[in-house]
Amino acid sequence: MIGILILGILLYGIILGRDMYNPFLEGVKQGIQIVFELVPTMLALFLAVQVFRTSGALDMAVYALSPLARIIKLPEEVLPIIFAKLFSSSAATGFLLDIFKTKGPDSGVGNLASIMLSCTESCFYVVSIYFSTVKITKTRYTIPGALFATAAGIAASIFFQNI
């Protein structure tokens, strides 16, 4: 997929007979600058998630929310995944692999967790990364909208899990 995409772009450029090497270098330079601007945000996010997780506060939040989860017939095991996914995809993947190890990927919970991770994005991560590069602090309706889309995805995962 990636290879074919790059091949397509380069062939197109060769046919047009245009310079591609210098634009590539220019783009790489910009890309590296983008990442450097992101370093403080990444450190801040990873710090907060890690403190919240290692202290056991995450387990407590999951415990507090589990009665609610039972009402909407959501297995408790997927709660940490949903929570982690809001902040970081890699943390959520860690929880997903835990479920795969303990319950198996083909278990009901394994399937549900797989679908949930497929249809959601790490909300707060994306918001802070994108807005920090343009120094936006008043995010207006971004977070409500993003959480609404995430909730819709989770509800749909529960609904479609047995198709």
Binding site: I9, I34, L45, E121, T139, A149, A152, F160
Partner: protein, 188 residues
């Protein structure tokens, strides 16, 4: 973000005091900084290369064509964007996301944000287009969850692809919800 960030840390440390997990928390702080920097180093390479390719496609005028291709969708959500470059980057970001090229999506998304910022002036308040771009991104556009399928087969799933159809449906639902939300906000 300010409150969320500080509350997570404060709550974590207070719970750590009561739980007797302060030692783990301290370790966690060290590993988190290590992991964050490791991820950034990985990103320097990947985002650098993708941004390079992006710039090549841009110079060849390919992003303009892409923008024309998905124009109806762009008009629906980004009705008030006048900046042409911003629209091109937004299109690219959406297409890269749908195809599952997450690493290619990030640079184009950030470039789109920077273009939108030019339109928005120097304020620190997000414009409608900025909010919409992020909401659409967070609704998860990726159609085929290639990573998840790979993890499933790695962990011995008998049918790693079983989740494909439900995932596509759920992703569509979340994206439609996002589009409806953005359209509802337009009236305000």
């Amino acid at each position: 973000m300010n409150y969320l960030w500080s509350v997570l840390i404060i709550a974590g440390i207070i719970v750590g005091c009561f739980n007797g997990t302060l030692a783990q928390v301290s370790d966690g702080i060290l590993t988190s900084s290590k992991e964050a920097i490791e991820l950034c180093i990985l990103m320097v390479g990947i985002v650098g290369v993708w941004n390079g390719i992006l710039n090549v496609a841009n110079c060849l005028g390919m992003t303009k064509k892409l923008e024309k291709l998905i124009q109806p969708l762009i008009h629906l959500i980004f009705y008030d964007v006048k900046n042409k470059k911003a629209k091109e980057y937004i299109s690219l970001n959406i297409v890269a996301n749908v195809l599952g090229l997450g690493w290619a999506a990030t640079p184009s998304g950030i470039q789109a944000m920077k273009e939108l910022k030019k339109e928005n002036g120097s304020g620190n308040t997000a414009s409608n287009a900025m909010c919409n771009l992020l909401i659409i991104n967070i609704s998860s556009l990726q159609l085929i969850p290639i990573n998840i399928i790979a993890y499933r087969s790695q962990y011995g799933s008998l049918n790693p692809m079983k989740i494909l159809l439900p995932s596509i449906l759920a992703t569509s639902v979340s994206t439609i919800a996002a589009i409806l939300f953005c359209m509802a906000m337009r009236r305000k």
